[in-house]
Structures are given as structure tokens and as C-alpha cells.
């Protein structure tokens, strides 16, 4: 049997969780030895045709139709789905737009900000459409493990990952739990 396959995706987030993962420094070597990192912002594979996975990892909230599709695809292909960071766990800072209609948000961002200058809200059919609200991952698909934090500490990420790879779903110890 080969090494467990892992994919990570970065939805509506800031990459901070992935940065925190990279901040594991030398501990990363052991982790990367133990897993087969397939699709991930780190490997720069972006086709989202996931193989059968042991672990799928999501950073970021679910804010548009593409992100929703990725989340659903990933859920189907992985045994354990893990949410990284406050955005994937709770919705995070992206949810600040949740009580403003999306048309209003787009027209503000493209027409009315102090730095807007004769733009227009993008309408290309290639571009993913915004959802009405940004949602935490578990409002879109079933989630098995949670690592909150903005970003989660490298230690918290390592703890959760090691537990999952050992076949356990564990809550983050209270000492490592934080939301900021």
C-alpha cells in the first residue's frame, strides 16, 4: 500500500492557513515523507480532478459556485475532510458581506470605492458567480475534523494531521485552540 494521498484546497481565504502549515519548518519533512501530497496550492496542481484520497483539507469559506463545486468534489473523493482556519470552520472574515446583497457588494467594489475608476462589475460567463452568502464548509458538505484559528498554529495543524493519519478524529487540545 502506498502512502496516504492528501489534497489541500484554498477556497475563500487568504492562504494564511497554508502558510501556517509551511511554518511547521523541519517537522514538515516528516509529514511530507509520510503522505503523498497530490492536488494543493503548494504543488500548484489546480485541475481539481482529485484521486481517491485519505485526507482532503480545505482552507477558506465557500463564497462562490466554483468553490462550492470544489468542496463537493473533494468531499466525494476523500475519506476524511478537514477544515483549516476560521473561514472554513466558521465562515470567518468573509462573512462580513453576508448581510449585504451581492449585487450591492459588486457594484460598490467595482464602481464606488475611493480607488474605483470607471470599472464595471465583471460579467464574463467564465467567472464563478458569488453565492448569496459565504458559508462555513460544514454548511455545504459534511466535515470530519476542524482546526480553527486565524491562522491555526502550525502545532495545531500538525496535531490534527497526525491524528487523522493515525486513523483518529481528534479535537484540537484546548491549549492549542484559538480563534484569533
Amino acid at each position: 500500500m502506498g502512502k496516504p494521498k492528501v489534497a489541500t484546497v484554498w477556497l475563500e481565504g487568504c492562504a494564511g492557513c497554508h502558510m501556517s502549515f509551511l511554518d511547521l519548518d523541519e517537522a514538515l519533512v516528516d509529514i511530507l515523507d509520510a503522505i503523498d501530497l497530490t492536488i494543493s496550492p503548494i504543488t500548484d496542481f489546480k485541475d481539481y480532478e482529485f484521486p481517491e484520497l485519505e485526507v482532503g483539507i480545505v482552507e477558506g469559506g465557500v463564497g462562490n459556485h466554483e468553490q462550492k463545486e470544489i468542496a463537493v468534489k473533494l468531499r466525494k473523493r476523500c475519506k476524511v475532510l478537514m477544515a483549516w482556519g476560521d473561514c472554513a470552520v466558521f465562515g470567518g472574515i468573509n462573512t462580513m458581506r453576508n448581510w449585504i446583497p451581492k449585487e450591492e457588494i459588486l457594484s460598490y467594489a467595482y464602481l464606488s470605492t475611493p480607488s474605483s475608476c470607471g470599472g464595471s462589475p465583471p460579467s464574463d460567463s467564465e467567472l464563478p458567480e458569488l453565492l448569496e452568502k459565504v458559508l462555513p464548509l460544514n454548511q455545504v458538505v459534511r466535515v470530519d475534523a476542524y482546526v480553527p484559528g486565524c491562522p491555526p498554529s502550525p502545532e495545531a495543524i500538525a496535531h490534527a494531521l497526525k491524528a487523522v493519519l493515525a486513523g483518529r478524529i481528534e479535537s484540537i487540545p484546548v491549549a492549542l485552540l484559538h480563534f484569533d
Binding site: D86, F90, I93, T95, N98, W99, Q139, P148, C150, S171
Partner: protein, 690 residues
């Protein structure tokens, strides 16, 4: 009181002895058993709103809120069974899901009871869908923000406003999920009757009410260490006990010390809680001197002190010794007032006066006049406000000058039905419809005299006959009072105030800067007589409280710095040395002077432009010192809370150095000696509180 009956119960299998009437929570805490709470606060009435403290009793299917459930004989309580923990986690998730709690951009993160609880219960996600509903944010106050998105409706603020502050500004509006904490009849903070005492802010367990002035220094994260120090607020002479929170060497917050036994119950006022944290401009961190072109430049301590001492020495040779003037602000510690006197008055035979001298002069002279007839009278303590059934403000605007006095007066009116009455150009309490006899500032003496006569005709006790004799001596034979400046409606109000004053059991007269600041000695004396008409309080205290302009004004009074300075039109002085507190500008005009030296903490205020030499000093938080209460009976010794900027020496150290340079003998040897001699000069044994 009869001792409460003992009740025996079991909590988590332990036999506990409690007293009848206690709640399960109280019994548990008394025995070191932890039950988490949110809406509960020991300084407030029990609420039972958040349900976080649920426990299992006798295995009953329904859990009970331990903060409101009284103990009962034989009760078997489980505080952390799986069922209880499950229920708590669910309740907590509902609290998070209901509104918008996002720690990552909340300035209160790291100092939040809701967050602490989520950590304690290991809440790593929500199983219920978040509501994502928008709630309003009220950022109209200069001091606090009320963000309903972070509110859990625990009602701590509402109860604090009612039970501790006694203001009843906060309440609830709407029902169910739309419930909001609201001010008055749904006013924004700046349009409400809120006086920004911040008691709600202190008790808010989340970031729903947060500090506007120090958000950039918020306590973010678990790691940041916050030190808490006890001190007193020296800003107005009430000397409220405070808890000062310091992180990384800078001030984060000033909180009140909640206590049901203190008259103000631990509330603070906008001055003590917020204005003390306001940025007052650039600091003076190095001595500076005026250059020939008029600009200022930094210099060494050596040079600055040499120049000042040189000027002082030069004036000594000129025989015009009275041409040296020291001005001391009522915001400075008593040690500085004492040393300035030692150096300039005793050493150089100059004068020292308070920058609030006009107020002190009025007060001193009025006491002297009353003292001719009545010996041993004194002011009462502000704490008597609590017992007053009528509070008469004369020329006083406590909301501006002494917010705590305003708050306690309003509380007396709301809680005990005390009458609030005022005489003067402006209403004393803007948000309370007391009886206000509107009298222009220049007619206040006549208004007060008319009031005094009206009350005297209504009071028919023995002292009144004596009073009539006195009045006749002082002002000639009694005659029909002409109050031409008053219309009939105002005169009617005046008579009503007089009537109520005469009938009240325990009135209190509060005199403000409208009387003391304009030199109305006879008016103040008449107000003292007015208070006298209703008899004395215990220990010879008059039913009268004089609001002093600054926190430590009474120290200057005791040291004798109450005389008026030479007027501005006279011959210029040789040297004027001003010691400020860096807070306010002086209430007198600093006379013309050939050499002006200023010792202050900030490069702010009109004197900075005039001074030849500027000498830095720390703020009260950085150096502490002795401060005297408003009635002059109690002194506190404050200790420094934060470090002064590097290189800034304590005020009294600088003054001692100046005395040394002038070759003075008999100066205090060390800090202990200085404190002792300062207390001696104040006529008090030793600081009674620390």
C-alpha cells in the same frame, strides 16, 4: 440578623454545607467547585438568562440554571455530567451562531468571557447554522462602541446601568431574536442620557461594548500579559478606587472597583475611566529653553536648572523678594505643593499660590465670615449625597466638572425620590427634570439671597432667630426683597425650592465653580447659612459640599496657597515658576513676568508659548504622590503605575535639586522624609488609604 439555616447538599458527590437562600452556584463557588457562567456577575442581581451554568439536580430530566436555583436540603447536584456538558456546548454554540462573533477581527479577543468559555468547552466548530443577520453598531460616543453583532443579551450592561450606576439608561427593546440592548427610547449614545461612565463596558463579557480609545492596544491573544494595579483616581477629589490595567508598559484600561459597600458602588465617571486615557498632545521629555528668535530648543537638565536658579538668585539680590511667584496646579501631588512653598516662600521669601486661587480665596473668605459666628464648622463628605432627600445645586454644573457628583445625585433622585433643584445660569443635571431656578450669572448673588430669605421665613426653629440677627448685622435691616430680575414664573420656582428645602429632612447644598470662580464670597456665605438652617450632620459637618476645580486643590488650600496672585496690570514679576499637572490650563491669568519657568508633562497649554524654561515631569500615573480628598479629610498615597518616558525625573526630585542648587538648608532628606513633612503641612497624620 438571624443566622441563615444550614442546608446540606451534594455537589458532584461531595457533601456541602450551605446556607438557606444561597444559589447552587454560590454554594459551589464557596466550595471551590467550578461552574462556568456568562450572564452571572457577583456585583449584579441574578439573572438566569444565558443558561450556561446549567446543572443536573436529582437526575431530573430538566436541567436548571445554577445561578438562580436556591439550594435545598438533600439536593444531589451534578455540575459536569456528560448531559450537562453537552447542553452547555449546545447553548454556547447557539450564542455564537445567533449573532456575528468573529474573534479574528474583534479588539476584545483575548479579553472575552465568551471566547474563554469556547476554549474551555473545546468548541472547535458550530453544529448549528450561523444566523448571518445584520445588527446595528452604535459608534456615536467618543468613548465606547456598542456593537450589537457581538451582544449575547446577557443583560449585564442593563443591570450594571441600573444597579451599580443607577442611571437606568440601558434597557431592552424588541422581543425574541430581535431583542436589542437600547439606550433610553432607542436613542443613539450621543443623543441619549448616557453620561459615559462606562460601567456597562467594564461588565460586558464580550466585545459588544468596547473601549474606543485603546483598541489599538487591545489584549489580543492568550499570551499577552496584563498587569493589574490598584490605585485611586486623583482627578476630582472623590478619589475613587480604581484598577488600572497595564500591558507592555502602557495603560490599557482603568476600571472601577465594584463594591456594594462604597457609596458609588464602584462606578467611575467619564473623566476617570476615559479622559485619563486621552492623548493630550506631545510629551515634554527633555528640558527646553527659549532662544532669542523665540523658538524652543532642547537642553540638558544641568543647563535648564542653572538658568532657573540663576534667575531666582538674581531676584534675591534685588530686595524685591515678593517679586518671585510660584504657581501650583491643583492637579499636582501635595509633595510638589509643599516643596514649592519651601523653596520659594520659606527660602526666597516669595509667594506661592494655587492656579485655582480665585476659587480658594472665595472659599477661604466665606469660611472666615461664617467662622466669626459659628466655630468648628466644616464641609460634609460627598458620600452624604447618598442620604440626601433634596440636593440643591448653586452655580454648579457637575456634569461638566464632577460627573460622579451628577451621577450620584441623579441616582438619589431615581432610587430614593430625592428632589434635585438648581439655581444658576445653567441646569445642573441636563437629563433630569428637577426644579431649576434660572438666574443669570451676574444675578446669582441676589438669587441666592432671595432663596435664603424665602427658606428662613419657612423654617421656624431656634437657630433662625439667631440667623436673623446675623443677617441684620451683615446686610442691614431686613427688607422686602426686590428680585426684579426674576419673572413671576421663576420667582414661583424659587418659592417652591424654598418650600421643599424647608420641609426636607436631609437637604444638601452643592456649590459649584459658578459661585467660587467669580469671587462671590457673600453668596457662598449665604449658602453656608442656608445649609445651616437645616442643622448639622454628624461631627459638625455642614450640609454643604463645595466642588473644587481640581483633584488636589485642597492640598493647596491646606498649605495656604489660597491668596490671590498679583493682578496682570501690576509691575511685571521677576520670576514666575509654574508647576502644572499637564492636564488643564490654569484658571488664573499668569501675571506679566520677566522670567517664566514651567514644569509640566505635556507640550500643551498657553504657557508653553510664554515660558523661557520648560522642565519635564511625569503624569500622576507615572509618579503618584499624595492627594487630598475634596472635603480635605482624607489623604491617599498613590504609587506610580507606569514608567515615565526615559530621562523624565519626578517632580519632587527636580524641586529638591533646585532647592539644593539654591543652597537651601533643611530640605527633606529622602522620599519618606518628604512624605512625612508633606503630611505634617497638610495637618494630617499619615495617608489613611493607599
Amino acid at each position: 440578623m438571624e443566622a441563615a439555616r444550614r442546608v446540606t447538599l451534594k455537589i458532584d458527590g461531595r457533601e456541602i454545607v450551605a446556607r438557606e437562600g444561597m444559589t447552587i452556584l454560590e454554594a459551589a463557588r464557596e466550595n471551590g467547585i467550578h461552574i462556568p457562567t456568562l450572564c452571572h456577575h457577583p456585583a449584579l442581581s441574578n439573572w438566569g438568562g444565558c443558561r450556561i451554568c446549567v446543572v443536573e439536580v436529582d437526575g431530573a430530566p430538566r436541567l436548571v440554571a445554577s445561578c438562580v436555583m436556591p439550594v435545598r436540603e438533600g439536593m444531589d447536584v451534578a455540575t459536569n455530567s456528560e448531559r450537562v456538558l453537552e447542553s452547555r456546548r449546545t447553548i454556547l454554540e447557539f450564542l455564537f451562531a445567533e449573532r456575528n462573533h468573529y474573534c479574528m477581527f474583534c479588539s476584545q479577543s483575548g479579553d472575552c468571557e465568551l471566547q474563554d468559555l469556547a476554549y474551555e468547552l473545546g468548541m472547535d466548530h458550530l453544529t448549528v447554522p450561523p444566523g448571518f443577520r445584520e445588527f446595528p453598531v452604535d459608534a456615536t460616543s467618543s468613548y465606547m462602541v456598542l456593537d450589537h453583532n457581538r451582544c449575547i443579551l446577557c443583560a449585564r450592561c442593563v443591570r450594571a446601568c441600573r444597579e451599580i450606576a443607577g442611571k437606568q439608561v440601558l434597557n431592552f427593546q424588541n422581543r425574541g431574536a430581535k431583542t436589542l440592548v437600547s439606550k433610553d427610547l432607542n436613542e443613539l449614545t450621543d443623543e441619549s442620557t448616557c453620561d459615559s461612565c462606562g460601567t456597562c463596558l467594564q461588565l460586558c463579557p464580550t466585545g459588544a461594548i468596547y473601549h474606543r480609545l485603546r483598541t489599538h492596544q487591545a489584549v489580543r491573544g492568550k499570551a499577552r500579559k496584563v498587569e493589574v494595579a490598584r490605585t485611586h483616581c486623583p482627578l476630582c477629589g472623590i478619589l475613587c478606587e480604581t484598577e488600572v490595567r497595564v500591558a507592555d508598559g502602557s495603560l490599557v484600561a482603568i476600571d472601577g472597583v465594584l463594591s456594594s459597600s462604597s457609596v458609588h458602588r464602584g462606578q467611575l465617571c467619564r473623566k476617570g475611566r476615559f479622559e485619563a486615557l486621552e492623548d493630550r498632545g506631545p510629551r515634554l521629555i527633555q528640558p527646553m529653553i527659549r532662544q532669542p528668535d523665540g523658538s524652543l530648543r532642547s537642553t540638558s537638565w544641568e543647563d535648564a536648572l542653572e538658568r532657573l536658579c540663576g534667575a531666582l538668585m538674581a531676584s534675591r539680590g534685588t530686595k524685591r523678594q515678593k517679586n518671585v511667584l510660584g504657581l501650583i496646579s491643583g492637579g499636582c501631588p501635595a509633595e510638589e505643593a509643599f516643596l514649592l512653598g519651601e523653596i520659594l516662600e520659606r527660602g526666597l521669601k516669595g509667594n506661592v499660590v494655587s492656579t485655582d486661587a480665585p476659587h480658594l480665596f472665595t472659599i477661604k473668605k466665606a469660611w472666615e465670615e461664617v467662622g466669626k459666628s459659628f466655630l468648628g464648622l466644616k464641609e460634609c463628605s460627598w458620600e452624604k449625597l447618598d442620604q440626601a432627600d433634596l440636593i440643591l445645586f448653586a452655580g454648579a454644573e457637575p456634569e461638566r466638572t464632577h460627573p460622579m457628583i451628577a451621577a450620584l445625585s441623579k441616582r438619589a433622585a431615581m432610587e430614593k425620590g430625592a428632589t434635585l433643584a438648581g439655581i444658576g445660569p445653567n441646569p445642573a443635571i441636563s437629563s433630569w427634570s428637577g426644579i431649576w431656578v434660572k438666574v443669570p450669572a451676574e444675578e446669582l448673588p441676589n438669587g441666592v439671597r432671595a432663596l435664603l430669605r424665602e427658606v428662613a421665613t419657612r423654617v421656624t426653629s431656634e437657630p433662625v432667630a439667631r440667623w436673623r440677627d446675623l443677617m441684620a448685622q451683615i446686610e442691614g435691616p431686613e427688607q422686602e426683597e426686590k428680585v426684579a430680575f426674576m419673572d413671576s414664573a421663576t420667582a414661583g420656582l424659587l418659592r417652591e425650592v424654598a418650600q421643599r428645602f424647608a420641609l426636607s429632612k436631609s437637604p444638601l447644598v452643592i456649590v459649584g465653580d459658578g459661585v467660587t470662580g467669580s469671587g462671590q464670597i457673600s453668596t457662598l456665605r449665604n449658602l453656608m447659612f442656608l445649609a445651616l438652617l437645616k442643622g448639622l450632620l454628624l461631627e459638625g459637618a455642614l450640609r454643604l459640599l463645595i466642588l473644587k476645580p481640581r483633584g488636589n486643590t485642597m492640598s493647596s488650600m491646606r498649605m495656604g496657597w489660597w491668596r490671590l496672585p498679583p493682578s496682570a496690570s501690576e509691575e511685571p514679576l521677576d520670576v514666575c515658576f509654574v508647576v502644572e499637572d499637564g492636564c488643564d490650563s490654569p484658571s488664573i491669568e499668569v501675571p506679566k513676568t520677566r522670567f517664566l519657568a514651567l514644569m509640566t508633562s505635556h507640550l500643551a497649554g498657553p504657557l508653553v508659548e510664554r515660558a523661557q524654561v520648560l522642565i519635564p515631569k511625569p503624569t500622576w500615573l507615572e509618579q503618584g504622590g499624595i492627594f487630598l480628598s475634596m472635603d480635605g479629610t482624607e489623604a491617599v498615597q498613590l504609587f506610580p503605575i507606569v514608567d515615565p518616558p526615559e530621562g523624565v525625573r519626578r517632580g519632587w526630585e527636580t524641586l529638591l535639586a533646585i532647592g539644593g542648587r539654591l543652597g537651601m538648608r533643611g530640605l527633606p532628606k529622602d522620599t519618606a522624609d518628604l512624605r512625612g513633612r508633606t503630611m505634617e503641612a497638610l495637618g494630617l497624620p499619615s495617608p489613611s488609604r493607599q
